[in-house]
Structures are given as C-alpha cells and as structure tokens.
Subunit: 201 residues, 2 copies
Amino acid sequence: MAKKTDLRVKRTRKLINDAFLKFIEEKGFEAMTIQEIADEALINRATFYLHYDDKYDLLEKMSADVIQELTSVINPPFVQADQEVNIERLKGSVTNVYQCIQKHQMFYQVMLGENGINGFRNNLEEVIREKFDRHIKEVVKDPNQFQIPEDLLLHFISAAFVAVIQWWLNQEEKPTPEEMANQLTKLITQGPIQTAGVKIE
Amino acid sequence: MAKKTDLRVKRTRKLINDAFLKFIEEKGFEAMTIQEIADEALINRATFYLHYDDKYDLLEKMSADVIQELTSVINPPFVQADQEVNIERLKGSVTNVYQCIQKHQMFYQVMLGENGINGFRNNLEEVIREKFDRHIKEVVKDPNQFQIPEDLLLHFISAAFVAVIQWWLNQEEKPTPEEMANQLTKLITQGPIQTAGVKIE
DNA sequence: TGATTAATTAACACTATGTTGTTTACAATG
DNA sequence: CATTGTAAACAACATAGTGTTAATTAATCA
C-alpha cells in the first residue's frame, strides 16, 4: 500500500467503495450506473473517472485487494513428507481463512451473495486451487497414487471449499471459524456420503 | 413447448440463438449489443424485440429450456429405505446427466466456460440441490444421523457436482459419461483426500 | 499562508436502448 | 390459388448512459 497522502483522495475512494457495495447488494453490479454511484457517494460523476476507468476497473481493484489478503493466510504444508495429511495444520489454515473472511464479512457477503459478482467466486476458487496445486506438486512424488486426474481433484476441492464459505455467509447464526474447520475436515476426509451417516453398499 | 407453426419464427429464433451463443463465446454476455446480435442473425434489430424483451430475457429463456431437460434425467432414489446408497443407481443417474450435457455440449461449454454466464452455474447447482433435498427428506427419518447441517452438505455436493461438470467440459479428450460417473462416485464416497491416495493421520 | 492538487461544473460527441407506425413479404388456411 | 393473418423490415424518435475536456473552485499539505 502506497501512502495516500491526500485526505480528499482517501475519503473519495471510501465513499465510492461504500456506494458500490451498497448498490451491488441492492440491485446488482450490472444494473448500477456510474451516475448513481456518484450521487450516493456525494461526488461528481467526473470525479469517479479521476479514480477509476469504469465500474469494471473499480470491481477488479476492490476484489484484488481482498483476495490478496486472503491468500496470505493460507499456509501449507498440510501434507507431510510421509504422505499423511496433517489434520491440525489443515484445520488451522481453514480457521485462518474463516477469520479473515469474518473480518471483511460485509464485503464477502455482498460479493458472494444473491446479487453478487459471480466472477469473484471464480477468482476465489482459482486462488485456492493454485495454493493447493503448488503444495501438492511439492509433496506428491508418484502421480499414480491419484485414483483420478489431479486437476479434477483440485477443481472438486476448491469449488466445494468456496461453496461452504458461501453457505456460511448466508447463515443467520454463523458457526465459529473453528467449527467450520471441523465440518469441512469431516467432509473432505470422509466424503459427503459418510458424513451424512449413510451406509455405502 | 407450444408448436411454432410459422417457419419464419422458427428460423428467426434459431438465428438469434446461434448469434447469441457465438457472441457469448467470443466476447461475453455483457459486452454484446442487440444490434450486433441482429446483424449476425441477419435480422432487423426491431425484430429482436418482437421475440424477446431484452438480452436478459433471451438468456433466461434459453437457460430454462436446457436446464429443464437436464433435471428430467436425474431420477432418485439413490438411497434405499435401509439407509444404504444404491451405487449403481447413482452412477446411472450421473451417466444420464453427462449424456444430456454431451447432447448440448456446445451450449454448456459456452455457458459454463471462460466467458460464460455465471448465474447459469448457480441455476444448475440450485436445481441439483433441490432434487437431492427432496429425495433426502423422503428417505432420512432421523435428522441426527447427519454429522453436519443437512443444508451445508447439500451445498457441498451440488457445488462439487457442477465443478466436475465444468472441468469435464474444458477437457480436450473427455472421459466418457460412465467414467465420469465412476470418478465422481469415488470422490463422494471416499472423499477427496483418500481419492488422492493420501493417508489420514 | 501560499503552493499544490483534488474536486466541481457544464458541455461535448458518441453509442445503445426500447418504441412506434407504416410497409412489405410470406405461410397457412379454405 | 387466392385470401388473410401475421412476422419481419424499415426508418425515425426520445431517452439514457458513457467517457472526455477545459475552466473554475476549494480543500489539504508543508
């Protein structure tokens, strides 16, 4: 973060961000106009263009900031050299992730919500996939140990991971980050069927 | 489906649909204009408005048709009265789903692809979730058998399910529907970690 | 306080939208 | 095959949003 010397800039950016989030929540990204953002932020429309190229630019910059912070709290190795998952370490990282999301709850809620930005979800998945991928490539020596294509596995996990986040954000009474880490761990170690308490033929 | 008696209507609709898909693939939904659709479809712009309110209306109508066909091939019960999953039946339904997608491959590829419509993915997940939900409610008598909230489980499964479809559509050399059914079955019965051949502490 | 730089204002050309009224062409019927 | 209903074409319109510019005002920093 470069220091924003001028207070006016800081204030204007914040007003724009707030207005933007408000409208995404209320009417969705596509429906909002720059004039509306400006009105809500109590700035002139031309001022908006002094800060961002267009609303897509604004969206990208806001997302990038938050996602960057999130990735910084995911830290492998979850899998040790002996091919065992380190459950505690895994839970630790998941807990960190949920705490980070909690910190920016409003933002995530809006971006992943009903009227949210669907591209944001893809970004999240991609970022998670990359983290896992890099780690797996370090640890796994024998590609044949996979029962299915590695890439397929990564897509499965990252999508499920983000879906669980999305579910969590929609709950009135949110389980704690630690509880979420436990539930997610059950799901990916036992699989959803056994977690549902259903026997397998 | 009401019968479209008039050939002209049939033709115009098809031309619009084709142009629409072409532009989604090329430049994405938001970037395309109705003028462009009309030019590509070799019809007058005003003609477009005789058939659809706007491009969102067109999108909805196209999606609804295809999703409707997809849901019709998912047929529970996968879980029997004795609380055992019927693996064969499950594989059968999954195979049907992939065959149905294969039939409209171009459409799904575009809609779920790089430049695709992200709301479409949500629709798919929702539809799958509902199917499963209705079935689960019939079979499961004791809500305590779940180790985690049922709703969370449903979100996990449906998101993973659609993610695997998405992965499949992006493969140059696509596994057969039967192979996909096998791989998906492994993932949801054993869980991703064991499927990766990694031991659990 | 004075210098700097952000924000305001009003005007501009441009592009897309959705609608309307009239005319033309065609497809399905008896 | 002629008739009739209706889809499609066409042209013109008002409306709304975009992105840019140049001159002016006002807030902030040092």
